[in-house]
Symmetry: C2
Subunit: 466 residues, 2 copies
């Protein structure tokens, strides 16, 4: 009497789009813009391209007292998408170039596709994508998503000679939104991006014709992140079995470990196999499940593995962090700290933090404002369930001194090969103990130094009064 | 140079299992138990069966200083799963009997499957399921999930004659967990379930052999929820197009509206079509996209539709709510309220709330403890991002009086055809304005009555002193 059905990934996220940040017309407009913008930034940064990104939002027609159809246009000078992958990349949920172990804004393989799906669902209009990887041709597709089957459905396509050797991606879509309600979040999102990405040239034109221009003020870019191998502490039994299954049967266990794991060289492999009581020259083809489980248990308890290297990460960098914040907020005081690299569950991560006072930091006098970032994405929502907010709440501010005439802002950034987001909508980070610890140390360090500064200022004022 | 890949739904949730509540061995153990238990409760309640559920967790072997492999066994007397659907229901992500418009605990089509996937990933052992719908046979499968392809892989199967006409489902799986850390959440989860489900007989045996027995103390069950049709305000343009596409071309638009929408009868359809300026006898086959969009825009702005009926919902019921709380917490004071039905985005919902003081409510003196429920599921995590916590935080408690010698508890339950969960892990509810309003009205009502009670008690104490 129960009716059993299967849902495609697009069907699932179409019906449950609030899970991906498309919960209402205001939030959906914000999420669509940020997902496409983050795709553009990745397409530039991962390929050492200084980003030039234009976003324009135009009012098309009102649909209710507070909603309207908008045309969203976004253009970047990024890597472009190869012709054979464009339609799947944007028209298929769970299709991505970020399913590798590398730091990037994208991670789930559905953000851009969700923006297109939401647009289609609310406007009935197909999306247009124009892209080129800088080669002989520019491809242009007008398509829709076949939601039942999670695949793109082409309506029209064009191939144009790329005479000017253009490289990049343009997207044009129509979606229902509520810009009056969403505008402050959208503008704040761009401002907070510019604060840590001063090497990007960002232009946003809103439906009222207002131009928000964040020019490039720094000529250097951080080194892009690198793809890395999994760490022994970052895998579980299932993954280990699959890695073994995919490797040649003739390969020895020692070779397998050195080839497939991060920072496992000859010495470490030898030490580990002695600990695990497994012969190094044993062939993978001779290993049964019991032996694989024995290997796995040993991997989890062996403490001789080198912790994951942070060389693969791409932090903001203290100079860029400072310059960006100075440009956007013009503060009286700024202090930046980079915590030593750490790791959780085999994933390397770095915490960078800044304490900023005065200037155009918004807030009430004496208030502490928290600005959160993860893999260079500003997180504007769900502060209540974020690890950084939890850490800040647990700090007794009476142990530190700060001026009470203006607000003080704390910027917290985490860079990692995997950000433990709590939701597909990427707004809050889970309270992993190692991450919590590093954020707390960073905040306390900045507060101590700010206390020293505040006391100096107060003594100076005191001295001047006498 | 980017490497493009597709992920199956099981691959995606395997790699991002923290999104579904499997973030660490303690939380994963909690989530696995609750997902399977909620499947059992649905299988009983949706079919008017008084639930008898046994859950046993046995320690198998330690894997680290704070983790171990446990054997999880769960048995229910529910509807059972038909032979042809068992493997897909439990071995395939996005396969469900709850993809219909009806109130139930299950909604996403992945909870039970995730528990099995996590178990397989951490123990290497397959899952065993034994089930019967009460017919001639009992089927038993031992299977694993092919994560790459999101489908079950049978290892062995048996069919047994059902001589005793047994009906129900048994699951047996091995998974890594951290029971010492998870135990208080697991026991609290069962206790809070029992508090609103006193017609269920629940037995939990923990790894130390402790028996937690929550006997049935109420013989009546609430009426099960009913499947319903979508409401005009609950659909978007894409859904409308698909509904039209699936209907016969010869059907008139008037018939289509009456057949496919909740509470749209002849009169309402006529009024609406006049408002939309569309002829009632127009055939679906004659409608082009422009006309469908015109119809859609009219549906969104027409204010003459009857709001969704709450008859399809199955609230806890004030008597059951009271009896359950009295049994579990033995309070000195209990007050229960049911708000009038409301709706959001076309989905009917009902808020039920209780204020409870004294007895065994845990907490510090004067503290206000919040217990949240959604479709009869206790929500123990992510309070910081839940709408009920937001409402409670915004209430100025100085406007109300309560005794300060013991804690006071507020129980909030929302029943709906769709709960706006923020995450796949079902721990927090989004702050939809209509829901926020009803929760606030319920809480304030209870606090006002509790203020009257508190004043009465204080006057009595005062009088006795003189
Ligand atoms: N502007 C762009 N330039 C180049 N490639 C792009 C662009 N936009 C999308 N892509 C490609 O399309 C893929 C899918 O994008 P989508 O946003 O759907 O998922 P994702 O970015 O991989 O992950 P996430 O869901 O976390 O955003 C990307 O991985 C990328 O390879
Ligand atoms: N104990 C059970 N008795 C009867 N049917 C069950 C049982 N457990 C699971 N099922 C069936 O298997 C299906 C899939 O279960 P699963 O937990 O994976 O998803 P769901 O319950 O539909 O949704 P959710 O992800 O929200 O839990 C259910 O919809 C139900 O039809
Ligand atoms: Mg993306
Ligand atoms: Mg379920």
């Amino acid at each position: 009497r129960e009716v059993y059905k299967e849902a495609s990934p697009s069907e699932f996220f179409y019906r449950n789009r609030q899970l991906a940040g498309f919960s209402n017309p205001s939030r959906a407009l914000y999420t669509a813009i940020r997902e496409l913008f983050e795709n553009s930034l990745d397409a530039c940064e991962l390929h050492r391209i200084k980003p030039n990104i234009l976003i324009s939002l135009r009012h098309i027609e009102s649909t209710s007292s507070n909603t309207a159809i908008y045309k969203l246009y976004i253009q970047d000078n990024g890597s472009g998408i190869p012709k054979e992958y464009v339609l799947d990349a944007l028209g298929k949920i769970f299709f991505s170039s970020k399913y590798i172990l590398r730091q990037s804004r994208g991670t789930f393989g559905l953000g851009g596709t969700m923006a297109i799906l939401y647009a289609q669902a609310t406007s009935g209009k197909p999306v247009k994508v124009v892209t080129s990887t800088g080669g002989k041709y520019i491809v242009s597709y007008v398509f829709q998503i076949d939601i039942d089957r999670n695949r793109p459905h082409v309506i029209s396509q064009k191939t144009i000679r790329n005479n000017l050797k253009w490289r990049g991606t343009i997207l044009e879509l129509y979606l229902e939104g509520n810009y009056p309600h969403a505008s402050r979040y959208i503008v704040s999102y761009f401002k907070h991006t510019a604060a840590i990405t001063p090497y990007a040239d960002i232009t946003f034109i809103d439906p009222d014709g207002n131009l928000f221009y964040f020019p490039r003020t720094v000529g250097i870019m951080p080194e892009p992140p690198k793809e890395t191998l999994p760490h022994p502490h970052g895998i579980d039994l299932e993954t280990l079995k699959r890695m073994i299954k995919r490797s040649p049967k003739s390969m020895t266990i020692s070779e397998f470990l050195m080839k497939n794991f991060h920072r496992v060289g000859k010495m470490i492999a030898k030490k580990f196999l002695r600990y695990a009581k497994i012969k190094g020259n044993l062939r993978l083809g001779e290993m049964d499940n019991t032996l694989i489980e024995k290997l796995y248990r040993a991997m989890k308890t062996f403490d001789g593995f080198i912790s994951p290297s942070s060389d693969v990460l791409s932090p903001i960098g203290e100079r860029i962090f400072k310059e960006g914040i100075l440009k956007e907020f013009n503060p009286e005081y700024i202090d930046v700290v980079t915590r030593p690299p750490s790791s959780y569950e085999g994933h390397p991560f770095i915490i960078e933090a800044a304490l900023v006072y005065g200037g155009s930091i918004p807030g009430s006098p004496g208030e502490i404002v928290l600005y959160r970032y993860a893999n260079k994405i500003p997180l504007l929502f769900d502060e209540g369930s974020d690890v950084a907010a939890k850490v800040l709440n647990n700090i007794n501010m009476n142990n530190y001194k700060r001026p009470m005439d203006k607000p003080t802002a704390l910027f917290i950034h985490i860079a990692s090969t995997k950000i433990p987001f709590k939701t597909v909508g990427k707004e809050a980070i889970a309270d992993i103990p190692e991450i919590e610890k590093e954020i707390e140390l960073a905040i306390r360090y900045l507060l101590r130094r700010f206390t020293t500064y505040t006391r100096k200022i107060e003594r100076k004022i005191h001295a001047e009064r006498r």
